[in-house]
């Protein structure tokens, strides 16, 4: 599996392309250093790889912008695009969707039935579905927006704006913030083991780093309200 990162200057968001490495590469053991080193591959292996058809498939997560660079990248690598995952319906994460749909007829997966006036494949919290060769698990994390989703693909978490390195998504109300923290704690932080966090903005992180250092998830000490003490006297 290959992950490509593209920084969208429109809205300063992160767009990701997740691609396979082709049939012949997948059969090789990625742990064998001999296999990593192309020069050490035997001639029979090379001949086999030349003869067999390499189907390379890809998905896009949050097309905040679709420019010549991304299209050129997909075409140059001969990727068959299988779908688009939308973490949430905010302009800086879907701005390139219309352009992308004009070029590739691919399904859009989102927690909303419509994104940028385009019909989507509606997905639900906890659903596990296949997009091409990728198995995707959905976690609904409302707060930053009602349709905020986190996608898990193997050991990668595409968190959108719900959780970025060191921070959680901005919300309009304290209720929204509490909802977001609660969903993140129960669905994301509780995931066993470590994951690579690929957020919608800013640098990458790991789930263990977020568990320890995310300031939005820190337990805040409850500040005693002096007026409560006064009221208690009368209760």
């Amino acid at each position: 599996m290959k992950v490509y990162f593209h920084y969208c200057l429109f809205g300063f968001s992160n767009c990701y392309i997740l691609g396979t490495e082709g049939n012949t590469h997948q059969t090789l053991n990625p742990f064998s250093l001999e296999d990593i080193d192309e020069t050490r591959r035997t001639t029979s292996q090379k001949a086999h790889s030349d003869l067999s058809f390499e189907l390379k498939e890809a998905i896009i997560i949050d097309p905040g912008c679709i420019d010549e660079k991304i299209i050129d990248f997909i075409e140059r690598n001969e990727y068959a695009l299988r779908g688009v995952l939308i973490t949430h319906d905010h302009q800086n994460h879907i701005h390139g969707l219309r352009t992308l749909k004009k070029i590739y007829d691919v399904p859009i997966y989102a927690l909303n039935h419509e994104v940028a006036e385009l019909k989507t494949v509606l997905i639900k919290d906890g659903e596990i579905f296949k997009v091409g060769p990728f198995t995707v698990e959905v976690f609904s994390v409302p707060g930053h927006s009602a349709d905020s989703a986190v996608f898990r693909v193997a050991h990668l978490l595409f968190t959108g704006d719900a959780m970025t390195s060191g921070l959680i998504g901005s919300t309009n109300s304290s209720y929204g913030a509490a909802l977001e923290v609660s969903a993140l704690r129960s669905k994301i932080l509780s995931l066993p083991g470590n994951y690579v966090v690929l957020p919608g903005h800013g640098p990458p992180s790991t789930l263990e780093a977020e568990r320890r250092f995310n300031i939005g998830l820190e337990q805040k000490p409850t500040t005693a309200n002096p007026s409560l003490e006064y009221i208690k006297e009368f209760l």
Binding site: V3, P30, A154, L167, G193, S205
Partner: protein, 195 residues
Amino acid sequence: MFTLYPCAAGCGKPSLSGAKTCAQHSVNAELEAGRLIQYIQSQTSVKDLVCSGLRFSSIDFSHRRYFGCNFTNCTFTLCVFTKSFFRMNFFDFSQFSECDFSKTDFQFTSFAGSTFQDCTFEGSELVHVNFTGAHIIDSTFNDSNLYNSRFINTKIQSSDFIDCNVKKTFFIASKQEQVSFKSSNTAEAVFELEQ
């Protein structure tokens, strides 16, 4: 991007590239480190390598290109990374002492929870780099580009960020002692969360 294959011992940690166990459960971790160093030094471009939990001392990592490698929980002492090129690498919870990162090009890399003692990043590109939860002591980032990097919840002591580009760099909840931002565009950095 590296693949996380769990250690055969069942500890849940990632196994090293070319091995079935993690560094902790390896029969000879030093031998494993030596094997991976030999591999790195034989290449100009290193991809998807897992070296998690290993110790590296006085190793030359310089003048190479690294893509999607996992160096989490490693210890680097007196290592040289000058003029290296890093894309989407993970160095979380690692320890760096007296390491030279000058004139390196880091993009989309994570150093979350790492410790840096007497390290230099002078004249480097540190774009979209995650230093969240890191502890930085007696280190220099002078003349570097830190665009869109994050130093959230970071402890920075006796370190310099002189003449740096800190546009969209987050220093929220970071504890700073004897830190200099002289000639840096601090007005464009983020030191506090908007209410």
